[in-house]
């Protein structure tokens, strides 16, 4: 393959599919699904399908204020950094085939690292807005970060240990070809789902936003296109987080591999369909959690993560160890 072709292909991956353009569209679809389902669960009609797009466009066209006291550069850079941080990991998560587009040994660590960037961007942006509400919200974001990251990492460790690889694609094909492992990972999956919910700062873990007392926390001073980028970041993070969980715990594009040859076009189409079904199912679960639970206080949140989810994640690792050494699953 000539250099030009390879470069063009890489650019296509980054900018169109599965990179920017696809993620942008899919994130808006996911936001719509999330808001519509949330409204239906509350017995409301809910927004029309184009609503997320209209919101995004309107915010882009509005005035974007930088407060006088704010640290201008950091305040303006934060949303861009956050968006870049969540757009990148999709390149390492398998979507339509067993291999992700830029898979390499150890990409799981890169993905987990990149997924923490939006939280840090939010922390820097919120803190440097120099708004009292923003700063209190930032402190809570930070407290919450230490709560959910550890169980999230531990939970993601379980499939990696079972598969004996640090590559997301490798783990997906390991779990996909041995579907009996999916129930083994049940505890880890639950822990990862709850941690993802906290990462996204959604109810019941939306203490940093807490609109009744902190008027949306770190985002309080953001307006116009900077707010639009932060909202898009949240949506993309939802999609990418769901894609990561589906690859790690549910076997990614499998069982498409069993139906058609994964390398072929038919296999790719079926694999992509399976990807959509699995990610939307995860979004569905997260929405139901958001609709049926009430917000925790910050200290309750920390104790939920340290007293319940961390031990559960450790139990999951032990279960994986036992299953692996006794070789009950071929």
């Amino acid at each position: 393959m000539s250099l030009a072709v390879e470069l063009g292909q890489s650019l296509f991956y980054v900018l169109v599919f599965p990179g920017f353009a696809f993620l942008f569209g899919y994130a808006l679809v996911a936001e719509y699904a999330d808001r519509k389902l949330y409204a239906r669960l509350q017995n409301r009609v809910g927004p029309p399908a184009v609503q997320p797009f209209a919101d995004f466009l309107k915010l882009l066209s509005k005035e974007s204020i930088v407060p006088e006291d704010a640290e201008g550069t950091i305040f303006e850079a934060a949303p861009i950094v956050a968006l870049a941080g969540v757009l990148t990991p999709i390149l390492y998560v398998p979507i339509w085939s067993v291999e992700a587009v830029f898979a390499f040994q150890g990409d799981l660590i890169v993905v987990l690292f990149l997924l923490t960037i939006p939280s840090f961007a939010l922390i820097f942006g919120g803190w440097h807005s120099r708004n009292a509400f923003g700063q209190v919200g930032t402190v809570r974001t930070l407290t919450q970060l230490f709560g959910y990251e550890i169980p999230f990492f531990l939970a993601c460790l379980a499939p990696a240990v079972a598969a004996g690889t640090w590559s997301v694609s490798g783990i997906a094909s390991f779990v996909g070809t041995r579907p009996l492992y999916i129930p083994v990972f049940a505890i880890g999956f639950a822990v990862a789902l709850l941690s993802l919910q906290a990462k996204l700062e959604r109810i019941p873990f939306d203490v940093p936003e807490a609109e009744t007392e902190l008027v949306t926390g770190p985002l309080v001073e953001y307006s116009g296109r900077k707010l639009a980028l932060f909202r898009l970041t949240k949506d993309v993070e939802l999609v990418v987080g769901a894609a990561l969980l589906s690859a790690l715990f549910l076997g990614g594009p499998y069982p498409a591999g069993a139906i058609a040859d994964v390398g072929s076009t038919a296999g790719a189409v079926i694999g992509f369909g399976v990807f959509l079904v699995k990610t939307l199912a995860i979004v569905f679960v997260l929405t139901v959690l958001r609709a049926v639970l009430a917000r925790l206080r910050i200290e309750q949140l920390v104790s939920v993560f340290y007293l319940w989810l961390v031990p559960l994640a450790l139990i999951q690792l032990a279960v994986v160890g036992v299953v692996g050494t006794t070789e009950v699953i071929p």
């Binding site: 309107k58 005035e63 307006s223």
Partner: protein, 173 residues
């Protein structure tokens, strides 16, 4: 592109609800319109908590003297383009608080108002009607009268009276 932006603006009005000394009747009705029975989210309306995120300021009450600087401040904090709805008889004219020593006679003595929603208290239907009409109008290239007058600099001085209430800007009850 202009058409698309106009559509986006009128399809996604986020409101900030501000109590400027109302008796709470209008506030309950405003929140009522966001509840399942009326569900303003059908029209893309979301209730926002900070003026920085909002497009439409829904004010209730006659504006007490205590509230006046705060109302001005919050109005200034909202990013352009912004619209103001005076919800309830008090917000439109002072209502039962007219000539009260501690109150203004309506929101338009403090900030420019784009739409008056009458009623004591307003009914959710009236508020929805007011919002929809306001958005129809502001969608047409920002033709709401306030926007026109703003560009002519009439409201540079916040002491200036903010236009008269004409039929065109009063929602049906």
């Amino acid at each position: 592109m202009g058409k698309l932006l106009e559509w986006a603006r009128s399809a996604s009005p986020w409101i900030l609800h501000l109590n400027c000394g109302s008796c709470n009747g209008c506030d309950i009705e405003t929140l009522d319109s966001l509840m399942p029975r009326y569900d303003l989210e059908r029209f893309g309306v979301l209730k926002k908590d900070t003026p920085r995120h909002a497009d439409v300021l829904v004010c209730t009450g006659p504006v007490t003297r205590q509230m006046e600087p705060r109302l001005e401040r919050i109005y200034e904090q909202m990013p352009e383009p912004k619209l103001v709805v005076a919800a309830g008889s008090c917000a439109a004219s002072g209502g039962v608080f007219q000539d009260c020593y501690s109150c203004h006679d309506g929101v338009d003595e403090v900030i420019p108002v784009d739409m008056y929603v009458p009623g004591c208290p307003i009914s959710p239907e009236a508020l929805i009607d007011g919002l929809v009409r306001l958005l129809e109008e502001s969608g047409e290239g920002g033709k709401a009268s306030r926007l026109r007058e703003r560009s002519e600099g009439i409201f540079e001085d916040s002491d200036a009276p903010a236009g008269v209430i004409d039929d065109e800007h009063v929602a049906d009850t």
